[in-house]
């Protein structure tokens, strides 16, 4: 009997091996394991055997059945995998075809620069302030130590609305408002980014432009603090290797006053077209708040001191993004605007 069982098993395994798809495999299963299958049939013969042989016979047949079943299962897996793979292969797409268009918005380069500066200074404890763009002569000039008749405030350089109102020519106009408003005289740390206006329009000047102003006032604020702060600011904006050069200068609202040059980030200070071969680019005005400004706005200059600086944001944005013509910033051609659509480095 054992031979017979072995014979059937061998044949079954052989036939399984020789199938080529799920259908043939199923035929083989019916042939051996179905209700009328060969292995099912042989099991029925067990009743004809003497009692004591029955267990070993039963186990032999079951073992053969298991072996055949497991072989069928293995083969079935193989066919199913092959079938899926074949189907997937038939679904192959061209991954190089263009993607579905997802419209991206963009942020104006000037506001990008403003946000970058805001983030830096907010992290150092500065408040970002906003002031009126339509200012009074008092705040734009007089309270900044620029009395009427001062050469630096000729009528023709500003957009006056009445003799007492004008479009602010500098974000510094907010300085006096902050000082006047700070009744408790706690430390002031503020920056004021925003639009400013001058009565000129040509290839390198826009009548509307943007500045950022910083003001720090407390009891022991010195030039060394100003220098340290500007070093952080400029290295953050223009790179760690940026060098600063302070040139004594003159502004009515600061004393001492400085113009601050940065080492040319295009040539690293060797001299190129951008820096007009000097290696330096003039970027900021800065200084120690003039005692008259403190006095006029409710501060005792013998107790308090402060520093202020300001810079043009249009130029910073142009430097940062390699924009060569200031007019591009205000033309708002969507082909220009759309370029500023990703994260800044």
């Amino acid at each position: 009997m054992k031979e017979k069982i072995d014979e059937i098993k061998k044949n079954a395994l052989n036939e399984i091996e020789n199938t080529s798809d799920l259908k043939e495999l199923d035929n083989v299963r019916v042939k051996y394991l179905g209700k009328k299958g060969e292995l099912t049939a042989i099991l029925k013969m067990m009743g004809t055997l003497p009692k004591e042989e029955r267990p070993s016979f039963g186990s032999l047949v079951n073992k053969a059945k298991e072996e055949v079943q497991s072989k069928i299962a293995e083969k079935e897996d193989q066919y199913k995998t092959e079938e899926i793979n074949k189907k997937l292969e038939s679904e192959r797409i061209d991954v190089t075809l263009p993607a579905s268009k997802i419209k991206k918005g963009s942020k104006h380069p000037l506001n990008r620069v403003i946000e970058e500066i805001e983030d830096l200074f907010v992290s150092m404890g500065y408040d970002v302030m906003e002031g009126p763009e339509l200012e009074t002569d008092e705040y734009n000039f007089e309270r900044l130590n620029l009395p009427k008749g001062h050469p630096a405030r000729d009528m023709q350089d500003s957009f006056y609305i009445t003799t007492e109102h004008l479009l602010r020519t500098q974000t510094s106009a907010v300085q006096a408002r902050t000082l006047m408003g700070n009744k408790e005289k706690g430390p002031i740390r503020e920056i004021v980014p925003g639009k400013t206006y001058r009565r000129e329009d040509d290839a390198t000047h826009s009548h509307q432009f943007n500045q950022v102003e910083a003001l720090v006032v407390d009891k022991d604020i010195s030039f060394a603090d100003l220098k340290g702060t500007l070093e952080i600011f400029m290295k953050h904006m223009l790179g760690e290797n940026t060098q600063l050069r302070f040139r004594p200068s003159y502004f009515p609202f600061t004393e001492p006053s400085y113009e601050v040059d940065v080492s040319c980030f295009k040539c690293g200070g060797k001299g190129c077209n951008l820096c007009k071969r000097t290696g330096w680019i003039e970027l900021l005005g800065a200084g120690i708040v003039h005692p008259n400004v403190l006095k006029m706005n409710g501060y005792d200059p013998d107790i308090y001191s402060g520093f202020a600086f300001g810079t043009g944001l249009d130029r910073l944005a142009m430097f940062k993004y390699g924009i060569t013509d200031i007019r591009l910033l205000y033309e708002n051609d969507v082909r220009f605007l759309s370029q500023f659509d990703r994260m800044d480095k």
Binding site: I102, G105, V128, P151, A224, T229
Partner: protein, 823 residues
């Protein structure tokens, strides 16, 4: 300010082989930025030659073939200048010389060898404004004494450097060679040399010599500070026979002296060179001296032809509409803000700006009146802005040192005697109401160090003052220093000015930067603006940056603002003359610009201000505006922008800011006329109007363009709650549809509200999913279908409960809006 180093050498010892770039950089670090630093004539290798032989070129009717002696050799040079001839001494550019026009090379000219070029002045690169007729016509002829083989630039005294400084407005003192000498002296620690004012004086009647003008002191520091007193002593009892009348407060100091019998001729080469290097064209010896003294002292002078005057000088304000012909030949219309000089009968000069034509120095002038005066700087600036900005007006504007007013007039006398053989008449006409007190400024070493953030020793601070030529008083152990500020430094009046001087001379580079030692705190900024900007960017819109100034027609577009517009007093152009009253008007301009450049699909936004006038107050408001047209795609879908697209953008922004469920879009009679009346709405939150939205009126723009504008000032005042977690229902929600027929003008928003009210607490959402008019629906009616989501956090609805809620909803709809349920 052009600084001639040769000129500077008159008053300061400067190394012969100075490194001009190093010098200019040092000055820049002191705050005197330089634009350029060059040699006056930037040519090497020129030689003085003598034309030994000069023959006509065999193959030319105008060229000459010359044998030129260069000292150690003789060369042949072909020359085309009409004035070349045997015996003259010339400037030779030998083979290899680099001239501004190019390099000179040995060549053959029509068969004749030429080993260089004989030069004209123009070819040396001298500014064309200094060229005389003969310089343009031919080669330059040197005097007979010119040494053959030597450097002609050296011989002519043109071996000079010129540094162009861009000076700050407060350093008017540096608009003079003397001022520069003090400043440069502080760098190299050198003393300024004395200025020669000596001259003889004559009686006006007899022209007999009556004395010598000689100051008792020879030290320039003393002369500089004491000259007014010294003049007082010398001129005692001598009165010039010449009247002065000062009829305005705008002149505080006026001096006049007479010099007779001057001989008008060309100035000596040395003076001409210094003038040219300083950017001033030499005219004749007398006129040149007035300019020369101005350059030296910073005090502008005016010379009158004495014989054209009426025996007196008067300073007064001009009459309204008074006329004056200035020396450039132009008739000027004056007003009462202009200071004029008159001779008692007529105005003869605009004070500080320009002299009159009638009284100017001519080739026939014999007697000269010198005017040295100080006029009000603001008045001079106003007049010069109207008429002409000149070297003189520039100096008046910056403010003058009264001691130099005295020095300058005596210096002019000295030079007129020396170079024009003039006889200086004794006495001086004087009007002097200038404050004579010296300003003394107290400062402490600790204050200096506190402001600069340094630890500089007192000894080093005193050394700074010494280098600057400032006198000071201090006790050895004392922190306090009293500085006596010289009159020339009108920029110094308070201790902070002295701190700046210490910072300058000590050197900013020597001060270490440090970190602020203020308490740590979190800075603040306007988060809403940033969030809006980021949200709009997420929605695929491009941010713009537009102009606030627009033309008068555009200013009031897209707004019903009844207030007055804000106008610029003197605009650059009418296109930029009025402040916008809406932000949409600026975006509409940007749309037009892009449209004209064939950019069709535009979705832009901006946060910016608009302005109006309310009575006497000016109001400015932050707005968010958005403009959309053409194709818009978000996600994977593309669609043409219509009202509902821009409405979606508006809702997204408002939702993002936390106003979800609180805003409505309302049809209103108050829609600005620039919007399509049937496709626009007012946006409200809690019933309060915050902005407008809609299609631009086809009368304004025939393309399908939509705008939206929200007033952020109003919006920011409407509080929002914070973001809070809402418990998820454990029970399934039920979705039901309801379709109704209502009158056409019933708004979807009202119907939704009615559904919500009827649905109550369990109603989670209502959304329109179908809208239909036409076949099957009666005229004037529309079919509208809503999908309603119901859920309760406590239970699962039974069918009966659902039917009851839906019943309530339809009853409410039919009661309020006469809605007919569609089966």
């Amino acid at each position: 300010m052009l600084l001639s180093i040769n000129f500077l050498r008159d008053y300061l010892d400067i190394d012969k082989d100075i490194d001009i770039i190093d010098f200019s950089e040092k000055m820049t670090k002191l705050g005197n930025e330089y634009d350029s630093a060059e040699r006056f004539i930037n040519v090497d290798g020129l030689l003085i030659g003598k034309v030994e032989k000069c023959e006509s070129h065999p193959d030319s009717d105008h060229l000459h073939v010359c044998k030129v002696d260069l000292g150690n050799k003789k060369v042949q040079i072909v020359c085309g200048a009409p004035n070349v001839r045997e015996g003259i001494k010339v400037i030779v550019a030998p083979d290899g010389t680099k001239l501004p026009g190019g390099e000179i090379k040995k060549t053959i000219i029509r068969g004749q060898e030429s080993n260089g070029m004989l030069c004209s002045i123009a070819e040396l690169g001298l500014d064309s404004k200094f060229l005389k007729e003969e310089d343009k016509a031919g080669i330059h002829e040197l005097d007979d004494d010119a040494p053959i083989g030597e450097d002609p630039i050296e011989y002519m005294g043109w071996n000079d450097y010129v540094v162009d400084f861009d000076l700050t407005a407060n350093r008017g003192d540096l608009l003079s060679i003397l001022g520069m000498a003090y400043e440069v002296g502080s760098i190299y620690d050198k003393k300024v040399k004395k200025i020669d004012l000596n001259h003889k004086e004559y009686s006006e009647e007899t022209l007999e010599k009556s004395g010598d003008y000689k100051l008792p002191e020879n030290d320039i520091a003393i002369v500089e500070e004491k000259i007014a007193d010294m003049t007082e002593k010398i001129e005692k009892d001598k009165k010039l026979n010449f009247k002065l009348k000062i009829n305005t407060d705008n002149c505080k100091l006026f001096l006049a002296k007479k010099v007779m019998n001057v001989q008008i001729k060309e100035s000596p080469a040395e003076i001409k060179e210094k003038l040219m290097a300083s950017g001033i064209r030499p005219i004749n010896n007398v006129v040149d001296i007035s300019n020369y003294v101005m350059l030296e002292t910073g005090q502008p002078l005016h010379f009158y032809d004495a014989d054209t005057l009426n025996g007196m000088l008067e300073v007064r304000m001009a009459e309204e509409e008074e006329k004056l012909t200035t020396l450039d030949g132009q008739e000027r219309l004056l007003n009462s803000d202009d200071i004029v000089i008159s001779d008692g009968e007529r105005s003869i000069g605009l004070a500080g700006v320009m002299g009159g034509l009638d009284t100017e120095i001519t080739d026939n002038t014999v007697n000269v009146i010198i005017e040295s005066a100080i006029f009000d700087s603001v008045k001079v600036r106003r007049t010069s802005n109207k008429v002409l900005r000149s070297e003189a007006s520039n100096r008046f504007e910056k403010g003058l040192n009264p001691n130099r007013t005295y020095i300058a007039i005596e210096r002019a006398c000295h030079l007129l005697e020396k170079y024009a053989e003039g006889k200086v008449i004794e006495g001086i006409s004087k009007y002097d109401k200038i404050e004579k007190e010296y300003s003394k400024v107290d400062i402490t070493v600790s204050k200096i160090n506190k402001v600069l953030g340094t630890i500089i020793d007192k000894k080093d601070i005193l050394d700074v003052f010494r280098k600057l030529g400032f006198e000071y008083e201090t006790e050895e152990k004392d922190d306090k220093i009293t500085v006596i500020v010289p009159k020339r430094r009108i920029d110094i009046s308070i201790k902070e000015d002295l701190i700046e001087e210490v910072g300058r001379i000590y050197g900013v580079d020597n001060i270490e930067g440090r970190n602020l030692a203020l308490p740590v705190k979190k800075g603040s900024y306007d988060k809403t603006k940033r969030e809006i900007r980021n949200k709009m960017m997420d929605l695929g819109l491009n941010e713009t940056l537009s102009y606030v100034l627009v033309n008068p027609e555009e200013a009031g577009m897209f707004t019903n603002n009844e207030h007055e517009k804000v106008e610029i007093l003197s605009p650059l152009t009418v296109e930029k003359s009025v402040l916008r009253q809406s932000l949409s008007t600026a975006l509409y301009k940007i749309y037009q610009y892009n449209s004209s450049r064939n950019n069709q699909d535009i979705s832009i936004f901006e946060i910016g201000k608009s302005f109006y006038k309310d009575g006497n107050d000016y109001v400015e408001e932050n707005k968010l505006a958005c403009l959309m047209t053409g194709e818009y795609n978000l996600g994977l879908k593309t669609q043409s922008v219509d009202f509902y697209v821009i409405k979606g953008v508006a809702e997204e922004v408002l939702n993002h800011l936390g106003y979800e469920g609180r805003y409505s879009f309302k049809v209103d009679n108050n829609i600005p006329k620039d919007l399509h009346p049937g496709k626009s709405a007012i946006i409200t939150i809690d019933g309060k109007s915050i902005g407008i939205i809609g299609r631009i009126n086809p009368i304004v723009c025939k393309e399908d363009v939509y705008v939206m504008e929200i007033n952020l000032e109003i919006l920011n005042k409407i509080k929002t709650g914070s973001m809070k977690y809402k418990e998820l229902s454990k029970f399934p929600s039920v979705r039901k549809d309801i379709s109704i027929i209502v009158d056409n003008d019933t708004s979807a928003e009202d119907l939704q509200k009615a559904i919500k009210n009827a649905g109550g607490r369990v109603l989670q959402s209502v959304r329109v999913f179908d809208l239909y008019t036409g076949k099957g629906i009666p005229e004037g009616k529309k079919s509208i279908a809503f999908s309603v989501e119901l859920s309760d956090s406590k239970k699962t609805f039974t069918d009966d409960e659902i039917a009851e809620i839906m019943n309530k909803i339809s009853e409410n709809l039919s009661k309020k809006y006469n809605a007919e349920l569609r089966k």
